[in-house]
């Protein structure tokens, strides 16, 4: 028998596993990275050939803004991203819902989607250029194709996850199938759809850049490639930062959509 240890508090062992969000932390993280970058280049730890100083990148950005060059690139990229993503996402959601709701689609389309998913879509760009020409259509097709599979899989998973008891309930009140899909299945699958949007938008930006590097006059990808060819690392880094900014904006928009559409959770 060990001795009676006397009166003591029960040790706390709960808590955690509930990450919150400090608004100030994200800008601070970015600021700290820039500071590190600045110190590393100013002290000569990193060769200026390998990595330009933050100031040089900023002035390259400012020059592009002043000359209006940046807007040409940005407009071309954003249009490709929006159009390509919209085509791919709407087809993906439609096919995903079909897989989630119909035996025929599940047995035919699901294996197809699984087979298409791992194909690196950029490998198909040359084929799309043969089909659609070097213009915009081949870039739309590449992005749409890349967005399609993750959206289809997200939609199908979301539909599968909708509680069957809610569907039986709606049926028991004689709610028509069309309304069941619209009022029960679609909102029930919304969390999965939005996480699909998160993933597919990033895939879209990756494919956008890759496609623009292969054959485009304008666009952020073309900007980065040409800057690299001319060893203009300041412009190159500026282009990469714009891409990162694009990712942040997309994440912000999805956050807004989540707060509006998933407030009930």
């Amino acid at each position: 028998m060990s001795p009676d240890p006397g009166l003591r508090e029960v040790p706390f062992r709960g808590g955690g596993f509930a990450p919150g969000n400090r608004r100030i932390a994200a800008p601070l993280t970015f600021a700290a990275l820039v500071l590190l970058w600045w110190v590393a280049t100013a002290r000569g730890w990193v060769s200026p050939l390998a990595l330009p100083r933050p100031g040089e990148v900023a002035s390259a950005l400012a020059d592009m803004v002043a000359s209006g060059e940046i807007w040409r690139h940005l407009a071309a990229s954003v249009r490709r991203l929006v159009v390509g993503w919209a085509i791919g996402a709407s087809l993906g959601v439609a096919v995903g819902f079909a897989i989630g709701l119909s035996t025929l689609a599940r047995s035919t389309a699901l294996p197809l989607v699984s087979a298409l998913f791992p194909i690196p879509k950029i490998a198909l760009l040359p084929l799309f250029i043969v089909w659609f020409g070097i213009g915009e259509a081949s870039k739309y097709a590449t992005i749409a194709f890349g967005v399609f599979s993750p959206m289809a899989i997200a939609a199908f998973g979301g539909v599968d996850g909708v509680e069957r008891s809610l569907i039986r309930m709606a049926q028991s009140f004689g709610v028509p199938n069309r309304d069941i899909v619209r009022k029960i299945v679609l909102p029930g699958a919304m969390p999965a759809l939005l996480s699909g949007v998160r993933i597919s938008a990033s895939i879209g930006i990756i494919l956008l850049t890759a496609a623009e590097m292969i054959g485009a006059e304008h666009g952020i990808g073309a900007l980065v490639l040409s800057a690299g060819n001319l060893m203009q690392t300041d412009r190159l880094i500026a282009g990469v930062l714009i891409l990162a900014g694009l990712g942040l904006i997309v994440a912000f928009l999805i956050g807004v959509a989540e707060r509006r559409l998933l407030g009930w959770r």
Partner: protein
């Protein structure tokens, strides 16, 4: 309107769930269906409301639905089946939305149904904010709003705590006294069955067969706990299910 089960049999693959069930639910009558776990009583309820097809036998309706009944056979589910992204009022409005009626009429029906279960002030609340009892009252309002001829209730009180269960039982009795609906009330709880059932149908263990039918003539309003009629009925029911329940308990493992 009467609901009739005629020699209903249900099998899932090689599993016999219900065997040869004959049952008539008259208008204005509450039939409690009582049986041990896994005796097929929920299956019987799904068959009665057309959510499942019987392997053999028929489920029939006789007579016209009362005028104004929008969904004659209406379920109340054990897990409430509330739509989490809809407020209480929107949940109650759901079964009206596909029907032709003006927005004003729909709103009036929803308000009336909420008033009958005492949820007037909670129309804008979301299900996750509600207690279990309020969730089930919301589900009952959603059933009332379509003016059913026959309620099909699948253990509606089983997911609730004891106090809430008593209160809701009183609500159900009051609602019945107001509208005299018919109901099939599936439960495994003898006390609930004798509180609410005009007739209590006792099912045997799987495959479920009707083992006994106990009628209680005492009016619902006079059914207080410990009333001799209820005690006598409970005793008779217990006698017929005790052995079955003990055996069914041991069988539970292969029900799933």
């Amino acid at each position: 309107m009467e609901l009739i089960a005629e020699k209903v049999r249900q099998t899932y693959g090689s599993l016999d769930v219900l065997d040869d069930v004959d049952l008539v639910i008259g208008s204005g009558e509450i039939v409690a269906v009582l049986g041990p776990s896994g005796c097929g009583k929920s299956t019987l309820l799904r068959l009665l409301g057309g959510l499942e097809r019987p392997t053999s036998g028929r489920v029939l309706l006789s007579g016209a639905a009362p005028a104004g009944s929008l969904n004659p056979l209406t379920y109340v589910f054990q897990d409430f089946a509330l739509v989490p992204w809809r407020s209480v009022a929107e949940n109650v409005a759901l079964p009206l939305e596909h029907l032709a009626m003006t927005a004003a009429e729909r709103a009036a029906r929803v308000a009336d149904a909420l008033a009958r279960v005492d949820l007037v002030d909670f129309g804008g609340t979301y299900p996750k904010q509600l207690s279990g009892g309020m969730k089930q009252r919301t589900a009952i309002a959603r059933a009332l709003v379509v003016e059913p001829a026959i309620f099909l209730m699948d253990e509606p009180l089983s997911a609730l705590d004891a106090q809430t269960r008593d209160l809701l039982m009183d609500d159900l009795k009051r609602l019945w006294t107001e509208t005299r609906f018919a109901a099939v009330y599936v439960t495994h709880n003898v006390a609930e069955a004798v509180q609410l059932g005009h007739r209590i149908v006792v099912l045997s263990r799987r495959p479920g067969r009707i083992r006994d039918v106990v009628a209680i003539d005492l009016p619902l309003a006079e059914r207080h706990e410990g009333h001799p009629d209820l005690v006598a009925a409970s005793r008779r029911i217990w006698a017929s299910i005790r052995d079955e329940a003990a055996i069914a308990e041991r069988e539970l493992i292969d029900v799933a």
